[in-house]
């Protein structure tokens, strides 16, 4: 008993002294804390930086030249016209929306289905293998996807549906669906995993089958996480650039069928920025498209975050 008390007393004494000691280690500790704090807020700084720098290049155009009404309602995107350049983004918005819409139509059921299989049915090695395959699917670069659309899907669509052009909404929608699937599967699976096992056990104890447990208990409980997963998938599709540029046909169109070629907002920037003079109207118009993309994806991500936070509060 005796030595222990002395030990504790000594350590308490030393700790008290330690708090006041301003030696080299104390200063290093404070310096590191400051450095790490700067690193910590770097994410905020970069997001603000992105917004500031794209607005800096684009806002003069919004203020002086751009007719917002025309921008949002006219399908005529003719920034290079000599006499009368017009900046109507409607066709580009329609292009992005149609491709993303088709992608989600294809991809959401399969992604959620895959998430349910991985999260609720698969066990052990099968589960790990499926998760790794989904991860590898996410790793394929977007330019490779675009190339696949161009060189494999294009002839396939022409032959199967007997249409003149295979670079269209269908092609880029399918490609984009495959690209958005892994992120949705992963996040949806996380959402299912977050449902406490006690819920499942309670339902099973009442005699429910696995499917009844999933349908009546797990899915309703994980609903918000699934919504967030879909939202992030939409954000991914909305912002995808190279694959859409290469597989959508890149022609300005208000699509009426899945076999129409379209042009996306992202692809327009990628295709035209290289040909514009810094500071020209065209250049600033492209930054305006960038601002639109930034704002829309920001809102989508924010909504997803709020939806997820909603369940945590409950």
């Amino acid at each position: 008993m005796e030595p222990q008390t002395t030990d504790r007393a000594r350590s308490r004494r030393e700790r008290r002294r330690g708090e006041d000691r301003r030696d080299r280690n104390w200063y290093i500790d404070k310096a590191v804390q400051a450095l790490v704090f700067i690193g910590g807020i770097s994410g905020i700084l970069f997001i603000i930086g992105i917004f500031v720098f794209i607005t800096k290049e684009g806002y003069g155009f919004i203020a002086e030249t751009l007719d917002i009404g025309e921008f949002l309602t006219s399908p005529r995107w003719r920034p290079t016209s000599d006499h009368n350049p017009t900046y109507g983004a409607l066709a580009l918005i329609a292009g992005t929306t149609s491709v993303t819409g088709l992608a989600m139509l294809v991809s959401v059921p399969f992604s959620l289905g895959a998430a349910i299989y991985i999260g609720e049915f698969a066990k052990g090695r099968t589960r790990e293998t499926l998760k790794i395959l989904v991860e590898l699917l996410a790793a394929i670069p977007s330019v490779v996807w675009g190339f696949i659309g161009l060189s494999i899907m294009n002839p396939l669509i022409i032959k199967t549906f007997n249409v003149p052009i295979g670079l269209n909404v269908l092609n880029s929608g399918l490609i984009l669906g495959l690209m958005a699937a892994p992120i949705m599967t992963t996040i949806a699976e996380d959402a299912l995993k977050a449902v406490p096992d006690t819920y499942r056990e309670a339902a099973e104890a009442l005699g429910a089958t696995k499917w009844q447990v999933i349908y009546r208990v797990v899915l309703p409980a994980g609903k918000n996480g699934l919504v967030a997963a879909v939202l992030l998938g939409v954000g991914r599709g909305f912002g995808e650039t190279m694959a859409v540029l290469m597989a959508s046909g890149h022609s300005i169109n208000l699509p009426t069928s899945v076999f129409d070629s379209v042009r996306a907002l992202t692809a327009t920037i990628a295709a035209e920025l290289g040909e514009t003079a810094v500071g020209s109207d065209h250049y600033r118009a492209l930054f305006t498209l960038g601002i639109l993309l930034f704002v829309v994806t920001f809102v989508i991500n924010l909504t997803a975050d709020l939806v997820v936070r909603g369940i945590r509060k409950k």
Binding site: E14, S142, F147, A270, F298
Partner: protein, 289 residues
């Protein structure tokens, strides 16, 4: 009394049907990828040779190899890592070791999620506005790599944070009770126990960085440069942009050439990913606590 009723049978049948349906859905995501990889290997495989990897493109990029693009991608990735790994680790250390659960932490997390969600082409616009024009780096490896670094920062932060948080809290408490400062604890206990997890994240970032195209298109990657870059202020070719250029911009490219380039690119990326996954699995098996 406990004999299976008609309802039990029906339920069991449904159960089996549903299970098959979900398995089918999962495989439908996997099959196209396997097919695509198969086609890439089948058509691109014959292109690959030592010559292909180690010579320059010739005849207006319709023949020859891919050496400048390979070397360029290595430059871009290395410089991007030099910028993003220290910042990413610092950010993860702050979030995992210092931050309390308050509004600032919430905003930081939200910013990181958004940074990962901003379209790659918007990152490209940021790179042009900030690094190329404002900081006057011009179109150079430096500008392109910094753009890539900002874009892939969330990958490092998320992976590092996870690695740091997998170190049991008791390790830290033990160290603090010995009178160590916070930094001494991090340097001597937390980092050594999580370095391999951090490395997994870094490898994953390499794979992401190597495949990106849009952010480097206007910030430092060139369509065609017959020589290798000498410093970070040079422009460079890159594998991803090279694939885009020869499959869409150059007339008269033989059909198989882009398949070869795509195969090399995807092999690099998937090899890095596989390495990271293998590393992670190995670590999980070895963990002592």
């Amino acid at each position: 009394m406990f004999a299976p009723t008609e309802l039990n049978h029906k339920n069991r049948r449904n159960q089996r049907l549903v299970r098959m349906l979900f398995l089918w859905m999962a495989t439908m995501l996997i099959i196209p990828v396997v097919l695509i990889l198969g086609i890439l290997v089948y058509r691109g495989g014959p292109m690959i040779s030592v010559d292909f990897l180690l010579t320059e493109p010739t005849n207006g990029m319709t023949a020859g190899g891919i050496l400048p693009a390979l070397v360029g991608t290595v430059w871009l990735v290395v410089v991007a890592l030099l910028a993003s790994v220290p910042i990413g680790i610092a950010a993860a250390l702050y979030l995992s070791e210092y931050a309390s659960d308050n509004w600032l932490t919430r905003i930081i997390n939200l910013a990181i999620i958004n940074l990962a969600g901003v379209p790659s082409i918007v990152h490209a616009l940021f790179g042009v506005g900030a690094f190329v024009l404002f900081f006057r780096f011009g179109t150079s490896i430096l500008a392109a790599s910094l753009t890539l670094a900002v874009m892939t920062l969330p990958v490092v932060i998320v992976a590092t944070k996870e690695a740091l948080q997998s170190v049991p809290f008791a390790f830290r408490e033990a160290c603090w009770n010995m009178g160590a400062t916070r930094w001494q604890t991090i340097r001597r206990v937390v980092l050594p126990n999580s370095v391999s997890g951090i490395l997994t994240g870094v490898i994953l970032e390499v794979s992401r960085t190597a495949g990106e195209t849009a952010p480097i298109m206007f910030t430092g990657a060139a369509f065609f440069l017959p020589f290798l870059p000498q410093s970070v202020f040079d422009q460079t070719m890159a594998m991803s942009l090279h694939l885009f250029v020869i499959s869409t911009q150059v007339p008269g490219v033989p059909e198989e050439l882009p398949f070869g380039v795509a195969l090399v690119l995807i092999s690099m990326v998937l090899a890095m990913n596989a390495l990271s996954i293998a590393f992670r699995t190995y670590l999980r098996g070895r963990k002592k606590w």
